[in-house]
């Protein structure tokens, strides 16, 4: 059990591409435990990716259940995640544990179909939308060496409008 150090930009390791997980063993479980502990210990966040703590395997954690009124699948450990299908796009505001003191607008797919392995190596599919889909896309970018800074759109660009009042 340990709280791991989070890499912060401009650490060049944040641009490294992570490799697929091949072995599902105790070592993997104990790393996932530490990764989750690190995520819970830091500033409130809805996800973390293994490369953010200098571990270059394709593992992400996502949990948006603390946000009120948002469709979600609870606490997720997603290994070798793969987006099968993307639909729509919406602009939202993002920040990152690895980029302190800055938030910016990023355009992401609104709905995704995701395939990923769980801790036991079992393949599962998810249909996700909105904030949860955004979180998954943000974390998968880390596995590919990308930060939200690579995808900024104008601060003034319109957000997706969900409700219209007459």
């Amino acid at each position: 059990m340990a709280i791991l150090d989070i890499l912060v930009y401009p650490d060049p390791r944040l641009a490294q591409i992570s490799s697929p997980v091949e072995k599902f063993n105790d070592e993997l479980l104990s790393f996932i435990f530490d990764l989750e502990e690190t995520m819970r210990a830091g500033p409130p966040s809805v996800g973390i990716a293994a490369p953010q703590v200098g571990h270059f395997e394709r593992i992400i954690l996502v949990d948006v259940s603390s946000k009120p009124k948002i469709p979600n699948h609870g606490r997720l450990t997603l290994i070798n995640p793969n987006i099968l299908c993307k639909q729509g796009s919406m602009v939202g505001r993002e920040g990152c544990l690895s980029v302190p003191e800055y938030t910016g607008n990023v355009s992401r797919a609104e709905k995704i179909t995701l395939q990923a392995l769980n801790k036991e190596g079992k393949s599962l599919n998810y249909n996700m939308e909105g904030f949860e889909a955004r979180a998954v896309q943000h974390e998968i970018d880390h596995l590919d060496g990308l930060l939200f800074l690579d995808r900024l759109v104008s601060r003034r660009s319109s957000l997706f409008i969900r409700k219209v009042y007459k």
Binding site: P44, R93, E101, L159, I161, Y165
Partner: protein, 174 residues
Amino acid sequence: MSNWYMLTVVGRDRPGIVSQVTLAIYKGGGNLGEASMVRLGGNFSIMLMVHYEGTAELLEKLISPVGDKLHLHIHIVSIKGALHQRLEPDVRISIYGADRAGIVAETTGVLVEAGLNILNLESDVGGSPTNPIYIMEIDGAARNGVDSIRLALDSVAKGKNIKISVTPINTLMG
């Protein structure tokens, strides 16, 4: 002393204003913090946070040659601020409608009363001179929650030909 200055530059828009002003600051040993530029109706304005070891008078001397050449109004004040003090917006409000010349004054008054700190406001007039469409977008921090903003705007919109949308801004941290 914080050594941060707020520099405001206003003038007729023309190519090269940002590059020449910032080059003069950089050459004189100043550094930029946050900056925001707007171009409206052929006019240009930019606010720049400048970190500079010297006095406001010295900073002005650095920039005034560029200002004179490009006919710019330059205003410099010492500020207490530092970086990272901006409030994060948690709600975006979009309003549009025909025939409501007073839309900005009407809605902003109500929003302030409902506990909104307005952090960014843009408004524009589309349509034709005979059929104008007034459009406004506001980003703000809702001190009393997004629902109180919705309630307040519902009463403004009642019986009027305007459309209002209120979208929470949920900043993702990950």
